[in-house]
């Protein structure tokens, strides 16, 4: 029985080293082919007519003019007369034509009549949300909140929230679908689920799951929004069939991408918190609301963030607001950024009322964070050192004399990130070449590189000695990339498959080295006897002993009979340093630091990139990103990239990342990292702004307008958002 574990620190030749991503050259040279870049023989271009109205019933559709246009190969009604449309941008008709301009002309030639219905698209002002749009989606009551508030020394009330934002993947959603024959389909999608969405397409097209072949080498961003085949994926297959099975490519236009293909739910809350004079937190009460589109979305199980189950007195109620807006999709650490903001902002306001340094306040209440209290304590102290907290922090509002006020803020976050199910085939060929196959995907997180590192480390080969094959649903099934589960999943299955394949090789090679298989080791491009390394064969010589028969071993995560190689559950801390111009309301990032626990770090270089990326995304949603909906027309006012701002290279300030590694962390194996560091920036930056200007800016993004509005209310309550 093979023993599966990660090599000891002193035995690692690749794991833990700063390694450049292996697909870097393909990406910098423009050679990497994304789905958006693929042109199939005879390919047609598909376009979709979308509803201009947020809430309407389709009265009639006339596609006759479009059908007659030269170059138009298919016109298909997706939602016919009588259908009630619930958001602007919903799909009505799909067309396929010989080129994009013709497809666009065809869409414009379609006449649709709508019967408009009343809509609701904004929910930030809860007083304007009609009764029939509200649904209580969760209530919880523990301890004795009334008594706790009565007995508290300090009670603080506030309103906090963040508007809906969109994913805005640079490669928009879409796919190319073609029929290889009557029953078999080939799809090139842009997806986070190489092994999972083929089945969804098969179901939509009414063919057996095995008849869908899916291929995707590169994806231009997902962030949680690309888990499903989506209606346009299935319709793409249907219009391809109408057009004699020719390949049809539908990539969403930027406008549609922002309106219907990505949305992080909004969340707002009226919060009341209480503490004793010494800073001990005693009670929490919140009434929260938010929208996820027409369907509800509960955040109640996450408030107050991290501390909920340890806090003795708590009372929460959440109301889901049904709006006529594009439906929510998972967005990097679903629910966490919103609930983190609401919680950490309320606690920081409480610390300010107590006239306590929030760092001391969090340390004082550290046991409320539960099982990871010690991790958070260490991380808070490390982050404080990195940002020179004790030197730079000042009591709230004492941010300097001039119009530019400087402030510091902090936040803590958590996430799971345990391994998903993953299978992997590793093949050692008699010529010494090695192939690793998994039906996984690399979202830009470095998955390809991690797989290569793990396999090459196991075989003692350089990275170039292993060929990584991913992005095909005919490879062994690996989970979708969501929940930061990929690194744990693929590294576990790859390690197990590699160890098994290597043991099989040892069995073949042992006689030639006059040794027993278990006495052999692989390293430095050789197979050798552990106790006598000079008794060795080169990797090529060893593999030649296989004759004509390659070795293939399958690794599985989870494995039924061995301990897991990866684990779940991390904690992280972020601290932000900002400057706010109280005359213009402009917030400028000076610095943000992140201290993160993520178990064994396989590639610190790409891991760091993920944390930087998460913090940059955090800066963007804290200061710039907002889906702006127009009450009158019910449509999105900024479905583009000049008014839906993501922030640029000059907006981010300085950033530093520190991983908690070594003893106590390494032995946990890798834990997913993509999501946790996106959680805290909103809270840390909001707290820093409050510290700088002396008043809370209640809602993200903290645009100059909102900063100035908050300053105008300075000294008063912000309870009327």
């Amino acid at each position: 029985m093979a023993e599966y574990k990660w090599p000891d620190a002193d035995k690692r030749s690749l794991i833990g080293k700063r390694i450049s991503r292996i697909d870097g050259p393909a990406k910098v040279s423009g050679k990497a082919k994304y789905t958006y870049d693929i042109k199939r023989p005879g390919m047609l271009y598909g376009k979709i007519l979308r509803s201009p109205y947020a809430h309407a019933k389709i009265a009639s559709i006339d596609t006759s003019a479009a059908e007659k246009m030269p170059g138009v190969k298919a016109v298909k009604v997706i939602q016919g007369p009588g259908t009630e449309i619930q958001w602007a941008g919903d799909e009505i008709v799909a067309v396929a034509a010989i080129d994009e301009p013709t497809a666009e002309d065809a869409v414009r030639a379609i006449k649709v009549e709508y019967q408009r219905l009343p809509h609701l698209v904004n929910e930030a002002d809860f007083s304007k949300v009609p009764e029939d749009r509200r649904r209580v989606s969760g209530e919880e009551n523990a301890g004795d909140v009334e008594k706790a508030f009565k007995e508290a020394d300090v009670v603080v009330e506030g309103v906090y929230g963040t508007s809906a934002i969109t994913h805005c993947c640079l490669e928009s959603h879409g796919q190319i679908v073609e029929w290889e024959d009557e029953n078999n389909v080939l799809i090139h999608p842009s997806t986070q689920g190489v092994s999972t969405i083929g089945n969804q397409l098969a179901q939509g097209l009414g063919i057996p799951a095995g008849n869908v072949h899916l291929k995707m080498d590169y994806i231009g961003g997902g962030f949680g929004s690309k888990f499903g085949i989506d209606r346009w994926g299935v319709e793409c297959g249907k219009i391809s069939k109408m057009a004699e099975g020719k390949p049809v490519k539908i990539m969403l236009e930027r406008k549609a991408e922002l309106m219907v293909a990505g949305m992080r739910p909004s969340a707002f809350a009226r919060v009341k918190v209480a503490a004793k004079k010494d800073g001990t937190l005693t009670a929490w009460e919140s009434e929260s609301w938010g929208t996820a589109g027409v369907q509800g979305f509960a955040i109640i199980n996450q408030l107050p963030y991290i501390i909920k189950n340890q806090l003795p007195n708590r009372k929460m109620r959440h109301i889901a607001v049904a709006t006529n807006t594009g439906p929510q999709r998972a967005w990097r650490a679903p629910i966490h950024p919103q609930t983190c903001l609401i919680t950490m902002a309320a606690l920081e306001d409480l610390a300010a009322a107590l006239k306590m340094d929030p760092l001391d306040f969090f340390l004082k209440n550290i046991e409320l964070t539960g099982i990871r209290a010690n991790v958070y304590r260490d991380e808070l102290l490390k982050a404080a050192e990195m940002i020179e907290w004790k030197k730079n922090w000042h009591p709230r509002g004492e941010g300097g004399k001039g119009p530019i006020k400087r402030g510091l803020g902090l936040s803590i976050h958590t996430w799971g990130g345990g391994p998903h199910n993953s299978e992997c085939d590793v093949t050692i060929n008699p010529d010494g070449s090695v192939e690793v196959k998994l039906g996984t995907q690399d979202l830009g997180t470095g998955t390809r590189t991690v797989i290569d590192i793990v396999a090459a480390e196991t075989f003692g080969l350089p990275l170039e000695g292993v060929k990584v094959l991913i992005g095909d649903n005919r490879y062994p099934v690996s989970g979708a990339s969501g929940g930061s589960t990929t690194v744990g999943g693929v590294s576990s299955s790859t390690r197990r498959a590699s160890v098994d394949a290597l043991n099989q090789l040892f069995a073949k090679v042992a006689p030639a080295l006059n040794a027993q298989p278990e006495q052999l080791e692989a390293g430095g491009g050789k197979v050798f006897v552990s106790s006598e390394p000079s008794r060795s064969l080169t990797w090529q010589q060893a593999c030649a002993k296989l004759g004509t028969q390659p070795i293939t071993a399958r690794g599985k995560q989870p494995a039924p009979s061995s301990a897991p190689l990866a684990s779940s559950g991390v904690g992280g801390v972020q601290m932000a340093d900002v400057s706010v111009d109280v005359e213009t309301g402009l917030v400028k990032m000076n610095k943000i630091v992140c201290v993160q626990d993520c178990g064994l770090v396989i590639d610190p270089k790409t891991a760091e990139s993920q944390v930087y990326g998460a913090m940059i995304m955090g800066v963007a949603y804290s200061l710039f990103e907002e889906r702006v909906m127009d009450d009158k027309t019910g449509t999105m006012l900024n479905p583009n990239m000049e008014f839906y701002r993501l922030g640029g290279i000059g907006d981010i300030g300085d950033m530093k990342v520190h991983f908690m590694t070594g003893k106590g962390y390494d032995e946990r194996g890798p834990v997913g990292l993509g999501e946790p560091p996106t959680v805290s920036p909103g809270a840390a930056i909001s707290n820093a702004v409050a510290n700088a200007i002396g008043v809370r800016v209640p809602e993200l993004p903290m645009t100059p307008e909102r900063v100035l509005a908050a300053l105008e209310k300075k000294g008063g309550s912000n309870a009327k958002l």
Partner: protein
């Protein structure tokens, strides 16, 4: 192909840029011919292209490439759909994000905002043209070394923009970087890597080989 003038006024027929350009071309009511036609407009000679596909020749990465496109088609779409040069990406499609950046006559240009017919007679360099003799350009190498990429979709545009930027500012200050590369957007958040890559490339380009 239907004329833009008799288009029904449905709620969906918002004026798109391409359509607007197409419309302005039709104002002159030129007879349907292929290729360029010169007409007299208020005493000035004006080139009129289309409607319909017309043959064009573009000088890309040092080679002449010929294809046929409608006059309303952008340089970006021509590179991508007709010439299989897909390094430049279509993202915002309206001159905001820089993913489509190419170099035209030495200057970085959003190829989504230039018509293919306009680009004739100009020297165009795309990301595919930066590599020379099988060796990556120092900017490309710096992007790899500093992990200035994640999903990589903005990367080719950023690489081209950095190359053009460093041609103009060989010793850039952080302020110049913020401004000079502020016309490119990354969603994964690779700006820290890009800052480091710019510094490395600036260093390596000094006195060294210059491509493109």
């Amino acid at each position: 192909m239907s004329s833009s003038d008799d288009r029904p006024d449905t709620p969906n027929s918002g004026v798109s840029r391409r359509n607007f350009l197409k419309g302005t071309g039709l104002v002159l009511s030129v007879p349907l011919v292929a290729g360029v036609r010169v007409v007299d407009v208020a005493g000035a000679e004006v080139k009129v292209y289309g409607p319909g596909k017309i043959p064009i020749t573009l000088e890309i990465n040092g080679a002449k490439r010929t294809t046929s496109v409608e006059p309303r088609v952008t340089l970006l779409d021509t590179l991508r759909n007709e010439l299989d040069l897909t390094g430049a990406k279509r993202v915002c499609d309206r001159g905001t994000c820089g993913a489509c950046t190419v170099i035209v006559n030495g200057k970085p240009v959003y190829s989504c905002s230039m018509l293919a017919v306009e680009a004739q007679g100009k020297k165009i360099t795309t990301v595919e043209g930066l590599e020379q003799n099988g060796k990556l350009h120092p900017v490309q190498q710096a992007f790899i070394d500093n992990d200035a990429q994640q999903c990589g979709f903005c990367t080719p545009g950023f690489v081209v923009a950095c190359k053009a930027f460093l041609d103009k500012y060989p010793n850039p200050t952080p302020e110049q970087v913020a401004k000079g590369l502020g016309g490119n957007t990354c969603r994964c958040g690779t700006y820290m890597g890009i800052k480091a890559a710019v510094a490395q490339a600036a260093q390596n380009l000094k006195g060294g080989r210059r491509n493109g």
